[in-house]
Point group: D2
Amino acid sequence: MTASVAILGASGYTGAELVRLIATHPGLRITALSADRKAGMEMADVFPFLRHLTLPKLVKIDEIDFSGIDLCFCALPHATTQAVIKELPRSLKIVDLSADFRLRDVAEYEKWYGQPHAAPDLQKEAVYGLTEFYRDDIRKGRLIAGTGCNAATGQYALRPLIAGGVIDLDDILIDLKAGVSGAGRSLKENLLHAELSGGTHSYSAGGKHRHLGEFDQEFSKIAGRPVLVQFTPHLLPMNRGILATTYVRGDAKAVHATLAAAYADEPFLRVLPFGALPSTRDIAGSNFCHIGVIGDRIAGRAVVIAVLDNLTKGSSGQAIQNANLILGLGETDGLMLAPVFP
Amino acid sequence: MTASVAILGASGYTGAELVRLIATHPGLRITALSADRKAGMEMADVFPFLRHLTLPKLVKIDEIDFSGIDLCFCALPHATTQAVIKELPRSLKIVDLSADFRLRDVAEYEKWYGQPHAAPDLQKEAVYGLTEFYRDDIRKGRLIAGTGCNAATGQYALRPLIAGGVIDLDDILIDLKAGVSGAGRSLKENLLHAELSGGTHSYSAGGKHRHLGEFDQEFSKIAGRPVLVQFTPHLLPMNRGILATTYVRGDAKAVHATLAAAYADEPFLRVLPFGALPSTRDIAGSNFCHIGVIGDRIAGRAVVIAVLDNLTKGSSGQAIQNANLILGLGETDGLMLAPVFP
Amino acid sequence: MTASVAILGASGYTGAELVRLIATHPGLRITALSADRKAGMEMADVFPFLRHLTLPKLVKIDEIDFSGIDLCFCALPHATTQAVIKELPRSLKIVDLSADFRLRDVAEYEKWYGQPHAAPDLQKEAVYGLTEFYRDDIRKGRLIAGTGCNAATGQYALRPLIAGGVIDLDDILIDLKAGVSGAGRSLKENLLHAELSGGTHSYSAGGKHRHLGEFDQEFSKIAGRPVLVQFTPHLLPMNRGILATTYVRGDAKAVHATLAAAYADEPFLRVLPFGALPSTRDIAGSNFCHIGVIGDRIAGRAVVIAVLDNLTKGSSGQAIQNANLILGLGETDGLMLAPVFP
Amino acid sequence: MTASVAILGASGYTGAELVRLIATHPGLRITALSADRKAGMEMADVFPFLRHLTLPKLVKIDEIDFSGIDLCFCALPHATTQAVIKELPRSLKIVDLSADFRLRDVAEYEKWYGQPHAAPDLQKEAVYGLTEFYRDDIRKGRLIAGTGCNAATGQYALRPLIAGGVIDLDDILIDLKAGVSGAGRSLKENLLHAELSGGTHSYSAGGKHRHLGEFDQEFSKIAGRPVLVQFTPHLLPMNRGILATTYVRGDAKAVHATLAAAYADEPFLRVLPFGALPSTRDIAGSNFCHIGVIGDRIAGRAVVIAVLDNLTKGSSGQAIQNANLILGLGETDGLMLAPVFP
């Protein structure tokens, strides 16, 4: 069986990454591609690296006939997404890559995104898309809300630790280093090669980054009480990859054992031997997440470092993993591509 | 059918690239991996990006039992290769990635590589591995000599033009821009990130680059008379990719038409519309080669620009393409991976 | 004596580079800075790397009182510049960094820039600003038209050769590799770090680059007959630097000797020993230009490679060198800063 | 007055950076340059970016006549340095850039550097070279031990806070991002461009980085009791620059006010307005250090981010600043070079 899929918002990086991954996926076939401002163009003109593929022309969303489509990937900007999804056929399965349905409490959405939620009813049926922790709900779901790329990285490092009670819930700090493709194809001075290459800076520091909404929601749910983490992201001169350095209080060996046990059977999550720490180079272009743990010279402190590719495991790979589940395909289908190094 | 393969010299970049590509190849299974100085190590310790794969441990070549192995990829340094291949079982099919068997005339080998050829008998049976032009010979071959990455790029731009008689044979110039992975994992000051990033320089200029031996051999053979090209490579701060800017005398439209016709049915070679020129970004990580042609304001001159990934189409992807042919597999099997962008 | 200078267009890279260089210049003092859209802002907010300097606030041009100003650097976009300079006081010395007054023949300007010249009278008094070749005119000039960065690089490689009659005038080819700061602070997708880093492509190929107008004008003037060169620029993932690989027909030793003799007393132009070739890394951040010459294996061909920093010797450093001459200061004043490596 | 200086270990990055800075320093003249393995070579052959300077040839240390030399910069590897300095004339002023004399307690040296200290007597007279905090001692000193680049960055962020009692001494965490030139010109696989570019990883994590010895020594001294910080460095694909993200407990406004007051008159240390955070791009190539402070959404927590150029303020610029003091020159002489951007 080959499922027929549409990609809405195919002219951005996550849309193109979906196409890249589906190109060698045995069970998915792209039937429609939308891009608002670039409607009428060939995908190969927007992304020449996809030139070898035979793909439908980019169209506007309302030009798509959804009748034969099994699943729709939504790679649109947040806010836009709510309005678009409301108008899609109810029979369509949807894997959303935007932020629009990640926060179950619409008040939280309004707080972090600065505007009221436009589709609170849809929000109710949305399933949070961090695959390894919501597998059963995703299999049964209709609308999957993909996890934010930073939020995914931090959660892979921390969820089993919070669930397992092996760390102090009031002293969790995430210092994150992110590659620039996470900012999308937006035209901003600080994203120019001349400005970004060869340097680094923090952004959204001081508790202002929107992915904190996801951390708060998920960590508090696991703990059964409010958990607030401290979170500082930094932008690095690299295209793909996130490295989250996570500082926790707890026994480092117990921290490692808890993570190793939690992820022992996960196809994409790899816990390194105790003391070994990961590099973003080793997961670039792939759906893998590597996690390392080390203790500190100060007893009772541990550092957990998780790396993943923001475009793959952090968004489009994750989306396909969820689509595989919804569609009854093998969870790893099309996603075992090795990282690209060097 | 799954063929069993060995990779000799698995601790270098081309060895690792073979493993990366074979990881999702439907018809190949890695049975043995050798690395002289790193014998005894796990591949995941030498290349952590391959951690998700179950691979044989690195061993010395003489520890390998070749009895069940169908084909051997040789990714060893030049000169070493000749000695090694001489000792391998005659029944083994071999795809060599080194320079050792590329030059049919052993005197040419000695001229360009500075030492006598150690296996002139083997040289006689070697087939030059530029797949698209030696397909039938490769299918019937036992020992395939992979084309040099720069030599492949230049030949894709020029062979049909020389064969078609549409350009002046005495005025061909190749200005080439190469990514740093082509230099391998060698420890040299000028390959350090601190030295290489953010700048460029030429190397082996003035007609000294060894791949000129391949250009001379192939172009002269096609033309039926000596053809000498001028060739200046430059090293760029990028990891993967070669861009060959090829300057020829001839009618640009005829040049374009000749290339388009020659490659119309080639799965990996894509000739862009006349006037469109390629970027290395659009082929990185893939086995594709993009070629563009433009005329100059000076009548009778044309520029042909070809791009490919030196580690894939320029060496390891090419090697697998040739292995597919020798083994009777589909030529594109395992090689349709999309480029990785951004 | 300290001369008082204004910089019009201070919010671009060449404007900022002027400020950087003037910061340690013993004879220049910045009295006014203009930036149209950023008027009212502090320079430190537009370019935080200049935070340590005490600078005038950015204003609109018509807010500047030019009465006490000795010299005005014009770092505005082309076309805009003509209109602005027409309105400046006649008593003001002007060093223009734009393309607006480089082409003596206004018909050539219209041909290359696609619009009629708006100040043909001013054009008549403009002096072409390639310092080493127009020194006396610059000293006596009022309006200096700075050379284009690519045009400067190519001219340093070729002018003495054309003048000296040591090369074939009908067979000159410039393959140029340029860093991205030459494209300015403009917001374009292909200048984003995610798109540009790690790859290369040609641009304005086929005889369409505007700096060809300068090559045509200058080389034809020197030769006393039309000289048309072939020119292909490429964009590289580096911030600063241009490397021009120049292919000529002539005796390589004579080519080297001619360049070495021509530049023997030049403070900023360095001809390397025969056979040594330069790297952009070795001039980044400085006003130096390094030039190397090598012969080819094909007799009668030579390669001349010139490197300079497009923002320094290619524009703002060159502008200050010219300003030094006009103002009667030492030509190298403030410009002997060493390159920054690594 | 121009002081005559020697640089021992001129073939490394910090040696070359000393030469770069001294090239435009009004009060220093280089009389001797040593490099063990490269003795006999011209500096321009080791570092072609210094080609425009007239410099003494590289020699072995014992070939140097120290009689006319006022001050000696020592840019040698640690351990080597102790042996070398012991043999230098007692009359010579020495600014050491190595780690050999930074730790006052030789037991601490042995603990962090894994070998006994070879010159404990010299250690006694060494002055710790963090200029802004040891100015008077440096002025009177003979042997200055330059601060480690990471250690300097962290101390600029934290010293006034520890001294001022505005932060919790038991909860200080430094997450540091370092450019690759800090690793020197050493030939290691992970420093190759192909391996390092486009990715990031931590190193010496878990309390093992040697600069912790300096943090322990200095912070405990200020506090009058043991202060142990947690410290995780990361290697980034950038050549110059360190960004230290420092997490403290305390009132963010008080933290900012304390730093602003402490550095109000410092020529090289710039505290940004509250809430503004620095970028390494804005100090690259200069002796400036920018510091920003922001509060967190969790009350009582503050983030202090300091950036400096590891080769300049972090080592060679700092060394010249100290040399200026010892020699009675102006402290900022030769060091007001603006950063280089982009």
